[in-house]
């Protein structure tokens, strides 16, 4: 298919761009296969706006006489308005944008056409391979092995080709366990806590059904992670009620009789459309400047967004607590094990493992616990807060995870190597990107799409010093401790950097932030200078003493 067919009017002049808190600008609008480009040629301040079609969540059109107006709502939550003279032009442009922003085929997406303009230092597709992760693990324990059982994605379509499992369990047993778990997602290693050798595993729900089916291999597999005489915890991310109802559909949970060494704890983390609705309501509330205080607070409450944040953080703290404080191993799952499970396992690692609080470590965490673990990014991030379609697969699961990380970052502002911008960048790229990293729903799809060969990895771009410097936290001081966030409602805050980003002028806050960075930089400079001078003085004093001795 040619994009040109979709672009009936490639260019319109005398278009006026409106954005909140900026003066309206007049300029030329161009449509290309993947971008909407607006450029104003005003002498005093020429500017260009490039918008990926895939970033467009929804568009609305209005007409007053022959002047058409298009309101574009983006997945990064920004809203812009374009006034386009001429009814026909406006209709053409609107329908082109609509068509180009809702292309069905993944291979038509921008990442397949994007040619990087930067030098690739390190290919992001080759970073964070499971083997490297396993090597790290092997240096501290030999109780685990790499299994290639899923090499052709034949056992579990949503798992990567290689997974880490207990050494004592062979592939034959794994095959049986896979049959017993929803979507064949058998328990695999998620995290090894070096401090005490306890582990966190993740899986999907067991298929016990109404008649309490059991699977000896499954029991053996998870028991293999327990120390003799010790109990473990199963954190089910569903309420007991939901878990019980799942039995009717063939799912279920681990029953005490068959897993006597495990204590099951139910936490209630919401899923799918409940989260999507929550996001839609929250953004609606944030975008309405006219709300009086009562209405704002009740809308914020009704969105339930912060409740979700609290629930997820609470479950993650619980998992971390079991491992670090109780010295017990943990298995986490919900239904499919691709959403709330990953929120819990990845956040628990942020709490427990200082490595995950570095830039590199966090990237590795996103790759391991989200991309390779089979979080269906393409389904979940197809639409954002302005979607009108009632598809049931969209959900801001990853955004909620990032929000939780931001909450911890706010409470421990010196313990993270990255800053808030890094998290916002990941949010943007998960929804619309020139890079292939977040395309597809799992490794299986990615390998079929040949993404590593045909697209550029986000990490190739991010991990260059020019880019990294934007995402570094100047206050970072490595903190090897476990960090326990407060989950009291008074300690949680609305993530303004995402949700109020386009709704208020940020000049004064930005300038203050810059000033803060200047103070830190200046401090480092001064310290370096003092040290240099001290060395010089020490040298002079030695020379001076020698001179006296002569």
């Amino acid at each position: 298919m040619e994009f040109a067919e979709l672009i009936k009017t490639p260019r319109a002049d005398n278009v006026v761009l409106h954005r909140p808190f900026y003066l309206a600008v007049e300029g030329t609008l161009c449509l290309t296969g993947h971008h909407l480009i607006f450029s104003s040629r005003r002498q005093d301040n020429a500017e260009e706006l490039w918008l990926l079609h895939s970033n467009i969540d929804s568009i609305e059109k209005r007409f007053v006489g022959s002047l058409g107006t298009i309101i574009i709502k983006c997945k990064d939550l920004r809203i812009i308005q374009l006034d386009i003279p001429g009814m026909e032009e406006c209709l053409n442009i609107a329908s082109s944008i609509e068509a180009l922003s809702t292309l069905d085929s993944v291979t038509l997406m921008y990442p397949f056409f994007y040619r990087p303009m930067f030098e690739i230092v390190e290919d992001g597709w080759r970073c964070f391979l499971p083997n490297e992760e396993f090597e790290l693990l092997s240096s501290v324990t030999d109780e685990w092995r790499l299994s290639c059982i899923n090499k052709e994605f034949s056992v579990c379509p949503s798992y990567p080709p290689v997974v880490i499992v207990p050494k004592s369990i062979d592939d034959e047993a794994l095959r049986k366990v896979a049959m017993f778990r929803h979507g064949s997602r058998f328990p695999v290693l998620s995290y090894y806590h070096k401090k005490n050798g306890m582990v966190m595993m993740r899986s999907s729900q067991p298929l016990t059904g109404t008649n309490g089916r059991r699977c000896k291999e499954d029991e053996k597999l998870i028991n293999a992670t327990l120390r003799p005489g010790k109990r473990g915890y199963i954190i089910d991310t569903r309420s007991l009620n939901v878990a019980q109802q799942a039995r009717a559909k063939g799912g279920g949970f681990e029953q005490e009789v068959h897993y006597p060494q495990w204590r099951r704890i139910h936490k209630c983390i919401e899923r799918f459309n409940i989260l999507q609705e929550s996001l839609i309501k929250l953004v609606e509330a944030c975008n309405d400047q006219s709300h009086n205080m009562d209405r704002w607070l009740s809308k914020l409450e009704a969105s339930n967004w912060l409740t979700h944040v609290k629930e997820i953080l609470t479950a993650a703290c619980l998992a971390a607590q079991c491992i670090d404080r109780e010295g017990a191993s943990v298995l986490v799952h919900g239904t499919e094990g691709t959403d709330s499970t990953l929120q819990v396992t990845s956040l628990a690692q942020i709490i427990l493992d200082p490595r995950c609080r570095t830039i590199r470590g966090f990237e590795s965490l996103v790759v391991r616990e989200w991309l390779q673990a089979g979080h269906p990014f393409q389904q979940r991030c197809a639409q954002s807060a302005y979607s009108n379609s009632k598809q049931k697969w969209e959900a801001p699961v990853f955004l909620l995870f990032l929000d939780c990380v931001w909450q911890i970052l706010r409470q421990f502002p010196c313990s993270f190597e990255f800053n808030e911008q890094f998290l916002i960048m990941l949010f943007e790229h998960a929804y619309a990107s020139q890079f292939g990293t977040f395309l597809g729903n799992n490794e299986n799809e990615r390998s079929k799409l040949k993404l590593p060969q045909k697209t550029m990895s986000l990490w190739s771009w991010v991990n260059r010093s020019e880019e990294l410097s934007k995402f570094q936290n100047p206050l970072f001081e490595a903190n090897s401790l476990v960090i326990w966030p407060s989950v009291a409602p008074q300690s949680l805050q609305l993530w303004e950097g995402v949700f109020l980003r386009w709704n208020r002028p940020s000049k004064f806050l930005d300038e203050a932030h810059e000033e803060m960075i200047n103070i830190i930089k200046y401090n480092k400079e001064l310290q370096a200078k003092v040290n240099a001078l001290r060395r010089q003085l020490a040298q002079l004093q030695t020379v001076d003493r020698m001179q006296e001795n002569l």
Binding site: C286, Q289, H291, N292, M293, D294, R295, W296, L297, S298, E301, N304, L306, T307, V309, K310, R410, Q411, F412, P413, C414, S415, L475, I483, S486, A488, P489, Q490, S491, L492, Q493, L494, N503, R504, P505, F508, L509, E511, A512, E515, M516, I519, I520, Y522, N523, L526, Q527, K529, V530, L533, R534, Q536, L537, Q539, L540, T542, V543, D544, M546, Q547
Partner: protein, 561 residues
């Protein structure tokens, strides 16, 4: 000194019932708890708002103490008898009947008499009016109230329009509640516009007063750049109308020439008191859910009130900055809402009030001198509980909201606001004692107590905002805050100041503050080092220096191997 051992201090929010064991001491001024690791918790008797003895439990008798600085401590005393004793003592000690028994009268900071006098002279309001540019061609100092004859709750020195003669002043004051006639609160030099303040007129349904009408006209005419003036009634319209039945009320636009009348709807002290009560009930709940917190926050109305106060100030500032119009502000008696709106308006207009010294001046002027009833509102003496209201706390919270929006515009930081809040209730210094200047003079506070301000200035390092930029940009002289609802946040550091588990574990602000302080020291160090090095370079022949330096490097290198 009475003391009880084996007392448990419970953590207010811990779910695992964490507690500290220690000894409780009762001194003449403080309740002191020293835990087993020798950490001390001091609670001033004056800070105690309520003491409650809960039913006996197996581990002892629980005693809950609520403080005016929002600290809540929960002790468990092993023996009921001890608990009862402490309870009774605290009840007595926290309720003072006479001013002379307040801590300020016994507090001795080891200052000599001349320091004490100088401390009180630190803030000079005459100086402040001079800074604003009065007296001038249109405004003058009036001696009408020199002996508190016209208005007992006003200060002696008042500034009024030159054209307002004594009979006009006297007439106007008779037509205003508690005699609080319109006087100057802030003068904007560039716009030649004024913020004036007063109490409600005794207009009832139809009464009028020519002198009062003249008074407003005089204020209007004192502003050459605008014909009309605004009259802001800071109350909700309904309340103001209800007051008419009691012979009070608001200005009738038909009787006053060239006024624009506006209600701004800030609620009264009783609504504010119960609002805070509700807020504290919510924030004090253990195991609170997000939705209960948000709906509790909404139901308390607290943030709505803060927004209303700030919205009123923004309205006032627009009238002055955009229209160059003078504004007369009043509420009922003109000492609560009027103080809030006038002082916040001035703070938005004039960057001086955003400095540490300027903020002290602002509080002295619009709150202390104009008779905000600190004693009644903060319950310094055992009195009518219906007079208590967090009006000044709301003012501080509004300022805090502004510091959040304009992080570089204020010389002072949050700790400064919290410290002032602490001392408004502590009764440790004389500034906030009593309800008006006349009362303070009668108490001879300047001889018998100390002023808070010099102590805060001595510690100014603690209260400085490291991001402050005095000449940030000229546009910042005027602050135009965004009062969209989402900008108002729950002030955790005020209402949970003592609940450490709620706060970020690492504080960026403190780090930057220390760094900024350290930078000054480092700059000094560099100067010194450079000076020493220059001197030494002067008397060591440079060739020798290089030779020896080389050989020294070799020596140290070989030492290493």
């Amino acid at each position: 000194m009475k003391h009880v051992e084996q007392v448990k201090l419970l953590d207010r929010f811990s779910t695992s019932n964490k507690s500290l064991m220690g000894t409780l001491y009762l001194t003449a001024t403080h309740l002191l708890f020293i835990d087993s690791s020798q950490r001390e918790t001091w609670i001033l008797h004056h800070h105690i708002a309520a003491v409650e003895k809960l039913p006996l439990t197996t581990s002892g008798c629980p005693l809950v103490i609520q403080c005016k600085n929002f600290r809540i401590v929960h002790f468990v005393v092993p023996r009921e008898r001890d608990c009862h004793d402490i309870y009774n003592s605290l009840l007595q000690l926290s309720r003072t009947a006479k001013y002379e028994e307040l801590y300020a009268f016994s507090y001795n900071p080891k200052q000599n008499e001349s320091e004490q006098v100088k401390g009180w002279q630190l803030i000079d309001l005459a100086e402040e009016y001079k800074r604003m540019g009065v007296p001038n061609a249109n405004w003058q100092l009036s001696d009408a109230n020199r002996d508190y004859k016209i208005c007992e709750t006003y200060p002696r020195e008042l500034y009024v329009p030159r054209t307002a003669s004594k009979p006009i002043i006297v007439g106007s004051s008779k037509f205003r509640s508690k005699g609080r006639f319109p006087v100057l609160s802030y003068y904007h030099k560039n716009k030649e516009a004024a913020i004036c303040r007063c109490s409600q007129p005794l207009s009832g349904f139809s009464a009028r007063c020519l002198e009062d009408e003249h008074m407003l006209q005089a204020i209007s005419k004192a502003n050459p750049s605008n014909r009309y003036m605004y009259v802001m009634d800071t109350r909700p319209k309904l309340n103001a109308m209800a007051n008419r039945a009691a012979g009070k009320g608001y200005e009738n636009e038909d009787n006053y020439s060239n006024i624009r009348f506006q209600f701004v709807g800030i609620e009264n002290i009783h609504v504010m008191r119960s609002s805070l009560q509700k807020l504290l009930e919510v924030s004090g709940t253990k195991g609170l859910s997000v939705n209960d917190f948000l709906s509790g926050l909404e139901n308390s109305g607290w943030l709505r009130h803060i927004k209303a106060v700030l919205d009123a100030a923004v309205f006032l500032v627009k009238a002055i900055a955009v229209e160059s119009a003078s504004v007369l502000v009043h509420c009922s008696d003109g000492w609560d809402r009027t103080s809030q709106v006038c002082s916040l308006g001035a703070l938005l207009l004039d960057s001086y009030y955003r400095t540490i010294k300027g903020f002290m001046v602002l509080i002295e002027k619009d709150w202390i001198s104009f008779g905000h009833k600190f004693s009644d509102r903060c319950c310094q003496l055992d009195g009518d509980p219906k007079e208590i209201s967090p009006v000044f706390t709301q003012f501080l919270e509004s300022v805090w909201n502004l510091t959040e929006q304009f992080p570089q515009a204020f010389e002072y930081n949050e700790a400064f606001l919290l410290q002032i809040h602490e001392h408004v209730h502590s009764c440790q210094f004389g500034n906030f004692l009593g309800n008006c200047q006349k009362e303070r003079e009668e108490l001879k506070l300047r001889e018998k107590t100390y002023s808070l301000w010099p102590f805060l200035l001595d510690e100014r390092k603690k209260y400085q905002n490291p991001l402050y930029n005095a000449d940030f940009s000229p546009e910042l002289t005027l602050l135009e805050p965004n009062t969209v609802s989402f900008n108002f946040k729950f002030w955790r550091n005020m209402y949970h100041q003592f609940d450490r588990s709620m706060h970020p574990r690492q504080c960026v602000f403190n780090l930057i503050m220390n760094m900024s302080e350290q930078n000054k020291q480092l700059e000094e160090d560099i100067k010194e080092l450079e000076a020493v090095i220059t001197i030494m370079m002067g008397y060591i022949p440079s060739c020798l220096f290089e030779d020896r330096a080389k050989s020294r490097d070799q020596i140290s290198a070989s030492d290493f191997y």
